[in-house]
């Protein structure tokens, strides 16, 4: 027998990242009028993408990167508590805070994110990581003119930190075992252009795998020596690792909720406990056919999962979302990708490039039947917005028009 659950009267969001914030925003937008509390140990929720960009460079301060000012919460009747949850107590109808206090809630949203993945090599604990504002502050301290900085991982965060570090005058070595980082995300041509920018900006890119972070020797005057699998080594005053995150699943697991490299959720954010939902980097989606998807450690995915969970918390159907989107800012360029650029995911697909003077500005992946599957572009935001609409509407654009720099992106999706 299906029973209709009581509508929630007291919702508690555990975590003050963009997933939790998006859920709060969406709950109020959907007309939820009950109590709404956010546990955010670091205070008012802030946005993380600037931590490896403007905030790290010092061009944006803590106020600027707040997701919303204090008044925003007051206007919406949202309480933000700078507290940490230490246990879910579903049977007691609440969450236990650090210090033992029990906070009552009839629905809980876990949006607890994760911790930076650490380098599991001897000496790996010496590497700095970047997840929180405090991490970015600490990193800023070591990114000084002349500092030798070794960055492990040339994905989005590693590349952005490398860009900020050279901008701040550091001497940067960027280490990644992958020859062409980001190729699955933005396609080979754009990945090649982006990766080449490291060298042009004075970042030394090394293709290898670190095997040990040893103590530096007196001759170099450096704290660390990063030994690589190819036998070479990198002298470094500081080492930074940007190799992804480990989702925080401890609270859920301890409460008997199903986890598997993330708190398992359905498309409306529901976990295996009907009173507990999850969203953001800590969650992992199981789709209707039972397949567990890979966790998406991207900003927009966190926003969408927060919005979906808001619907789920209210017993409403999950909204439909279009093609996923990501962006990165490095070396003075703005990169965006929408949909998929990975031809391995679409047999028979082909890539079309729009280039100016031999330099690719945009790449498109077209399915065998001509549908647009993905687009990545450098400093061409209207093209990405056009592509997003073409993908979501199932259009089959003319490949010649896509490739022609003279064709206005605005004309393509109309």
């Amino acid at each position: 027998m299906n029973s209709v659950p009581e509508p929630p009267r007291r919702i508690l969001v555990v975590g003050g990242g963009v997933a939790g914030f998006s859920a709060v925003n969406e709950l109020r937008a959907r007309g939820y009028e009950g109590a709404l509390t956010v546990l955010s140990p670091e205070g008012l929720p802030y946005d993380r993408p600037p931590l490896s960009k403007g905030y790290l460079l010092g061009t944006e301060d803590a106020d600027k990167i707040r997701l919303a000012p204090e008044a925003w919460y007051a206007e919406r009747g949202v309480e933000v508590l700078p507290e940490r949850a230490v246990a879910l107590r579903p049977a007691e109808g609440g969450v236990e805070l650090d210090g033992g206090r029990l906070l009552a809630a009839d629905r809980v949203l876990l949006a607890v994110g994760g911790a930076p993945r650490s380098l599991r090599i001897p000496g790996g604990e010496a590497a700095l990581t970047l997840r929180s504002r405090a991490d970015s502050d600490a990193l800023r301290q070591v990114l000084v003119p002349g500092a030798r900085v070794a960055i492990v991982g040339a994905g989005l965060i590693g590349a952005e930190v490398a860009s900020a570090a050279v901008g701040l005058g550091a001497e940067v070595t960027l280490i990644d075992p992958v020859e062409l980082p980001l190729a699955p995300a933005v396609g080979e041509a754009i990945a090649r252009r982006l990766h080449a920018m490291h060298g042009e900006r004075g970042v030394r890119a090394v293709v290898s795998l670190p095997v040990e972070i040893a103590a530096g020797n007196a001759n170099d005057g450096a704290a660390h020596l990063v030994r690589l699998a190819d036998g070479s080594s990198v002298v470094a005053d500081s080492v930074v690792a940007g190799i992804g995150i480990v989702p925080e699943t401890g609270l859920a697991a301890a409460a008997g909720i199903a986890v598997d490299d993330g708190v398992i959720v359905d498309p409306s954010g529901a976990t295996s406990n009907p009173a507990v939902f999850a969203a953001g980097d800590a969650s992992r989606l199981r789709v209707a056919d039972g397949t567990l998807l890979r966790r998406a450690e991207h900003w927009e995915a966190a926003v969408r999962s927060g919005q979906a969970a808001a619907a789920g918390l209210l017993g409403e159907p999950a909204p439909a979302f279009g093609a996923p989107w990501l962006w990165s800012d490095r070396h003075g360029v703005h990169v965006e990708a929408v949909g998929t650029l990975d031809p391995r995911q679409a047999p028979g697909s082909r890539t079309v490039l729009r280039a100016v003077g031999g330099v690719p500005q945009a790449a498109f992946l077209l399915a065998a039947d001509g549908h647009l599957l993905g687009c990545a572009a450098v400093d061409l935001p209207l093209m990405v917005r056009a592509a997003r609409r073409m993908i979501d509407r199932g259009l089959t654009p003319d490949p010649d028009a896509l490739a022609d720099p003279a064709v206005d992106p605005r004309k393509l999706a109309r």
């Binding site: 963009v18 914030f21 998006s22 925003n25 946005d47 403007g54 944006e60 997701l67 919303a68 925003w72 926003v303 989107w325 962006w327 703005h334 935001p381 209207l382 917005r385 056009a386 609409r389 605005r410 109309r414």
Partner: protein, 128 residues
């Protein structure tokens, strides 16, 4: 913006050109030197044919909304895809959480007239 600035410029309209000088689905930026207003203003020609104006700089980060994607009666920021209602300035999509400031625009005598610092008609906003 100070109240004094607002009062000073309230009555003055700026001629930003004939309607066909701003193609439908595009926008024109009116710089402070031209408007006397303290921020650049984007004048949008929506697909509906109507004209609207908002502060050009996204309320989230440094980006020109005039360079964004204009569709229906909304504009999507070219940087992080926040979107705003052209009519009311209301923010429709994260990451921005603050509404954009509106400015009154009229088409009169075959010219697009911008009133820098004057909110778009309250009646229009109420109909949103």
């Amino acid at each position: 913006m100070s109240l004094a600035t607002r009062v000073d410029i309230m009555s003055e309209a700026i001629d930003v050109g004939s309607p066909d000088e701003i193609e439908e689905g595009t926008a024109r930026v009116v710089e402070p030197e031209e408007s006397g207003f303290d921020e650049p203003i984007a004048v949008f020609h929506a697909e509906s044919g109507c004209f609207y104006a908002l502060d050009d700089t996204c309320t989230h980060e440094e980006a020109s909304l005039a360079e964004g994607w204009i569709e229906g009666e909304t504009v999507e920021c070219p940087l992080h895809s926040s979107s705003f209602s052209l009519r009311s300035g209301k923010v429709l999509c994260l990451p921005a959480t603050q509404d954009a400031r509106t400015h009154k625009v009229e088409v009169a005598g075959g010219r697009v007239m911008l009133y820098p610092g004057v909110d778009a008609d309250e009646a229009v906003r109420a109909g949103e």
